[in-house]
């Protein structure tokens, strides 16, 4: 099993619903975020192209944060997701330094926190909060090892990219382009 997410940049309108849903679901303290919106404008006027992405931890298959962690607090959980055990985290911040996506932050309670793919919801058979609320159905979550899953079919059919593949992290978030 390999949990992954496909995010359709052609459908995303950058409404930030996913950000708000995540903050509510996971009680993310004010001023912090586990997911966020990025807008890029490429080209030279008048030939401009815009892309909107909802970004979060990429739950990398080769996660540098898991390598950097001195205590096994950052580890691969069920379905290959990268999670932080709060009771084992000493707050050394090596994982934050090691993440090329800057997806982690120090929670005011001291431990390092990040996206969990809402594993507590997934275990109950629900979608992650961001996926569940997306008004344009831009996000698809599922198991990439299951050839019958929606995400596998979508990623097989569409053109996609991952963020900074050259960093060697093998991300599990696919941006459909």
């Amino acid at each position: 099993m390999r949990y992954a997410m496909a995010i359709d940049t052609k459908r995303c309108v950058g409404c930030s619903d996913c950000v708000v849903a995540c903050q509510t679901e996971n009680k993310v303290p004010i001023g912090f975020c586990r997911d966020w919106i990025v807008e890029t404008t490429t080209g030279t006027y008048p030939q401009l192209q815009m892309e909107i992405r909802s970004e979060r931890c990429n739950h990398c298959t080769d996660a540098p944060c898991v390598r950097a962690c001195p205590t096994k607090a950052s580890h691969y959980g069920a379905g290959g997701i990268v999670t932080v055990d709060h009771e084992e985290c000493i707050g050394c911040k090596a994982c934050i330094a090691s993440c090329p996506y800057d997806a982690r932050y120090v929670h005011p309670e001291g431990y390092v926190d990040k996206c969990t793919f809402c594993i507590h919801r997934v275990e109950q058979g629900e979608h992650p909060a961001c996926v569940a609320v997306c008004p344009t159905h831009a996000m698809t979550f599922g198991d990439m090892d299951d050839r019958m899953s929606d995400i596998f079919k979508l990623v097989s059919r569409r053109k996609w990219k991952t963020l900074i593949p050259e960093a060697g992290t093998r991300p599990n978030i696919y941006y459909l382009i």
Partner: protein, 313 residues
């Protein structure tokens, strides 16, 4: 020309707009750890070569500073942790892939050993010091036959302690400026140079001073070579590494690095040391103090610059 404008909705403290998770605590520790490693290395090396009477300051006296330096450094590390009272988790896990983990274990071995090592020299280093208790004196004299064994262990541990801090930074591929294999050897050389300079500063033995001046001169030359080599590596690498090097070649770290570290911290002390070896009258403390100050600056600038360098996408 194609340009890309990125607007991010994220403004996480300590991460945006540039990473600033590590303040003064980490570079201070990197300096103190390197300094302590340098002192232990010379002390152990010259003990193995039976040169303790030729180099009394380096072998017998300076090791007394090591437990103090390490204690301050460990205090700084502790202050940096944001989930402090879970720090013991470092010692319930061994993670070979994490340089921070083997650094923590090295410190656990080297700190007590450095105390025992210094104690074994107490009688020779400070003959007037009265221990008062006879049982303590007996323990200390029992330690002496094991000095060579301790020296072998210390030489290995000192190299690991001096290098791992640089390897720790170089292992972060997310921060292009740290991501250079030169970082480990550079920090080790800088730590050894700091220790050699402090010997020349404190010793009253003319022979020891001139020998350590020569050692320091060689170490400064190696450091300059590493620095040039590091920038050659960056400039021959990917776009993000070129951009990281540009922080130092016209960017905001240009003056602090080339003037304070390379100029005042390495080149000027090297010139002063050459003059001194040629029997010109140069105040000895100037070059030593500059080397030590340069070594502090190096750690602060490297830690700061690594956090300012990043992948852009």
């Amino acid at each position: 020309m194609v340009e890309e404008l990125i607007t991010s909705g994220r403004l996480t403290p300590e991460v945006d707009p540039i990473l600033h998770i590590w303040g003064w605590e980490i570079p201070l520790y990197l300096f103190l750890g390197g300094f302590a490693a340098g002192i232990l290395f010379f002390s152990a090396l010259f003990t193995l070569q039976n040169k303790e009477n030729r180099y009394p300051m380096a072998v017998k006296i300076l090791p007394f500073a090591v437990p103090v330096l390490l204690a301050i450094g460990l205090g700084a590390l502790f202050l940096d942790l944001s989930h402090k009272f879970y720090f013991w988790q470092l010692y319930t896990n061994i993670r070979w892939e994490s340089p921070m983990s083997w650094g923590a274990w090295t410190l656990l071995l080297v700190t007590p050993l450095s105390i025992v090592w210094a104690a074994s020299w107490l009688e020779e280093a400070f003959p007037k010091f009265d221990l008062r208790y006879n049982w303590l004196k007996e323990i200390l004299s029992d330690l002496k036959p094991y000095r060579k064994h301790m020296a072998w262990a210390l030489i290995i541990l000192a190299v690991i302690l001096g290098m791992y801090t640089g390897i720790l930074l170089s292992a972060f591929n997310a921060r292009p400026f740290w991501n250079s294999a030169i970082m480990g050897p550079l920090f080790l050389t800088s730590g050894l140079s700091t220790a050699a300079a402090s010997v020349t500063l404190l010793t009253r033995n003319q022979e020891e001073r001139s020998d350590f001046t020569k050692i320091d001169l060689l170490l400064i030359a190696i450091e300059l070579f590493f620095i040039i080599h590091m920038f050659m590596g960056f400039l021959a690498s990917t776009q993000v590494h070129v951009q990281a090097a540009e922080l130092f070649l016209g960017g905001k770290f240009t003056v602090p690095f080339w003037v304070w570290v390379v100029g005042i911290g390495l080149t000027i002390p090297a010139i002063l040391e050459i003059l001194e070896l040629r029997k010109h009258h140069v105040p000895i403390f100037v070059s030593a103090v500059l080397v030590i100050a340069g070594s502090v600056m190096l750690r602060f600038i490297v830690v700061e610059a690594g956090q300012a360098s990043r992948w852009l996408y």
